[in-house]
């Protein structure tokens, strides 16, 4: 049963062949139009199951609509369009098609009604994103892509085990609310959290994302973690553990971003930080909190895409990625500077930007639930966002010192993508009703009260004061900060090579010992077989005949006795 509705995810995934095969303007048209077609199709998906089929004795629902699904599918399609526009001048012929498979799979997860479909798109997403990384063509990207794939296949196996267990236990494949009350559900939760960038494996994200191309990282920032946010909203709302997981991620992101030198790794840590806000909201689990988490995922995809577009423009035009080598770019890249700064203000939830109308709902949910500790930590983290992303990123990239670089603005298509996303950041911030209308629950919240605006301004501006007062402590150095990925980049390889060395020497010793023994036995055989040895003597024929005669006579004698 398909009801004549096309599946937006399949349209984008199969359509990814178009930009791979076409050339010139037709290719450009396909890159921008295809995600918009998918977006239009997302809005044709009605509530309830749309596509159903039998698979392995189960009725699966590859296409199912409700407000939450459409919200995430909408922003994924929008991001694919914006990212595609930004990537129009990308020479790699693999990146955009791979990104469309990636985005299409994310839409597929958002519109899936059952866990089997979720898993299938989940794995396809890992393949698409790995190809996006890979297509950058650098040696470091290739190695990062391998590490990235390893973590995601591991997460996929855990998720698969959980889903299998869930189906065996409940007999149902439907993707609905679960609680971490069985091994299977824990495994599903862990599988989702791996993709969200949650501890202890958060390090895969800042390890992999900065290795994408100038346009690839824009795609990478949007889908994997936010699909996980969607899956957690659908599967585990109100799971208290998630509050603490989210708060950990929030502070992990801030502290590591403060120490980071690579501009796109700063923004990658800040993805973990922002997803932390969403996961904390999912953990609180009230309607206000879930609305806040969903809205924040929506606005976050836009402003993080914008921030990474501005960083990608700088990377393309200067071929530099380290803050210690950048600075002073506002002189020759004013448009990129303005757009990047708007993204930075939006991520900081400055009034009149999109972050302000979304993130504040999560804080409000903590207030409504009288969760003082959670609220204090969320407020502290909001201040920290301004510190590590809101000021640090634009300051070190566009202002700071004069690096002597005078790069031109990027190509027109990149400028247009940045301007469109910057406009969206402001438009949602000024006029939040259209976004609120898309949220899963009715919104009974007014972000623009004098009290709220003033409190937020105090918080942010004094965080800014702290930044500039303590600037000497924040001076960038060409360093990295060790993270959990040290385990699989240093410790495991070192352990593996020492095990290998031990095995090699043990094998050598065994071979040597064996050779010694064989030599010894050969020696003793040789000694016994020497011509002058007792057994090697040859007797004369005469004595042989005599002895035979003696034996025969003895035999005859014995016979007659």
């Amino acid at each position: 049963m398909t009801d004549g509705v096309l599946h937006p995810a399949l349209v984008l995934i199969v359509g990814a062949l178009l930009p791979a095969l076409l050339r010139g303007n037709a290719r450009k048209l396909a890159i921008v139009a295809l995600p918009l077609v998918a977006l239009a199709l997302v809005w044709q998906v009605p509530d309830g199951p749309v596509w159903q089929a039998r698979f392995l004795d189960h009725t699966i629902t590859p296409l199912q609509g409700d407000k939450l699904s459409r919200l995430f599918a909408t922003i994924f399609a929008l991001m694919a369009a914006g990212g595609g526009l930004f990537a129009l001048s990308q020479p790699s012929r693999v990146e955009v098609p791979a990104a469309f498979v990636y985005a299409g799979s994310a839409i597929g997860v958002a519109l899936a009604g059952d866990l089997i479909t979720v898993f299938a798109f989940w794995e396809l997403m890992a393949v698409g994103s790995t190809l996006v990384l890979w297509s950058n063509g650098r040696n470091s990207s290739y190695r990062a892509a391998r590490r990235y794939l390893m973590i995601h296949l591991l997460g996929g196996v855990v998720l698969f085990a959980g889903i299998t267990g869930h189906i065996v236990q409940t007999g149902s494949v439907a993707f609905t609310h679960m609680a971490p009350d069985s091994v299977a559900h824990w495994l599903i939760l862990i599988g989702f959290l791996v993709n969200a960038g949650a501890p202890p494996l958060s390090a895969w994200l800042p390890d992999a994302y900065p290795e994408g191309s100038w346009s690839g990282t824009v795609f990478l920032s949007a889908f994997t973690t936010k699909t996980a946010v969607y899956a957690l909203i659908r599967g585990f709302p109100g799971t208290e553990l998630l509050v603490w997981v989210g708060l950990f991620m929030v502070f992990y992101g801030i502290v590591y971003a403060l120490l980071e030198n690579d501009m796109r790794r700063i923004l990658s840590y800040s993805i973990v930080n922002q997803v932390g806000f969403m996961i904390a909201g999912i953990g609180i689990g009230t309607e206000m909190a879930i609305n806040g988490a969903a809205a924040h995922a929506f606005t976050h995809i836009i402003y993080k895409g914008l921030l990474l577009m501005s960083a990608g423009s700088v990377l393309l035009m200067t071929d530099r990625r380290k803050c210690s080598e950048l600075g002073g770019l506002y002189r020759s890249m004013p448009l990129t500077t303005v757009c990047g700064t708007i993204g930075a203000l939006a991520i900081s939830a400055f009034p009149l930007t999109s972050g302000f109308v979304s993130k504040s709902m999560i804080g409000q949910a903590a207030v409504d639930g009288h969760l003082l500790t959670v609220w204090l930590l969320l407020t502290a983290a909001s201040a920290g966002v301004f510190l590590h992303a809101g000021i640090k990123f634009p300051w070190f990239v566009f202002f700071q010192k004069d690096s002597g670089l005078r790069p031109a603005e990027p190509p027109a298509s990149m400028q247009l993508a940045m301007v469109l996303f910057a406009v969206l950041c402001i438009a949602i911030g000024v006029w939040s009703q259209p976004l609120y209308a898309l949220l899963p629950f009715p919104v009974n919240y007014e972000p623009y009260t004098w009290a709220h605006v003033l409190a937020q301004l105090q918080l942010l501006l004094f965080s800014g004061l702290a930044f500039f007062v303590m600037l000497p402590l924040l001076k960038r150095t060409p360093t990295i900060t060790l993270d959990v990925d040290w385990l699989w980049r240093k410790l495991l390889p070192a352990a593996a090579s020492s095990v290998q060395a031990a095995w090699r020497s043990a094998r050598q010793a065994a071979v040597d010992g064996l050779a010694l023994r064989v030599n010894r036995s050969l020696g003793s055989i040789e000694r016994r077989a020497r011509h002058d040895a007792r057994l090697s003597n040859t007797g004369s024929t005469r004595s042989m005949a005599t002895w035979v005669l003696v034996l025969l006579l003895g035999y005859l004698l014995l016979y007659y006795l």
Partner: protein, 84 residues
């Protein structure tokens, strides 16, 4: 465009920006006298809560990060050249 320095490059304008920033900071705190912030938690009712809390936690986070860096900071070719 190289003849005239960018307005942000003139020390006079930078001083002006700093002064403007401090004036705005003071205004946001003073505005609290006019606007009721509807404090929900007790600690929120302390005067200028968001200002000193924001400044304090940011300073604390920077110091914490610096302390962590003593343990975990490495040169950026730690994992091999070109793979930082």
């Amino acid at each position: 465009m190289n003849d005239k320095p960018h307005w942000l490059d003139q020390p006079r304008n930078l001083r002006l920006l700093w002064r403007g920033f401090i004036v705005v900071l003071v205004l946001t705190v003073l505005a609290q006298l006019l606007v009721d912030l509807h404090p929900h938690f007790e600690i929120e009712a302390v005067f200028g809560f968001n200002a000193w809390f924001g400044f304090g936690v940011c300073a604390a986070m920077i110091l914490f990060a610096k302390a962590l860096a003593l343990l975990l900071k490495r040169p950026d070719d730690h994992y091999g050249p070109g793979n930082d």
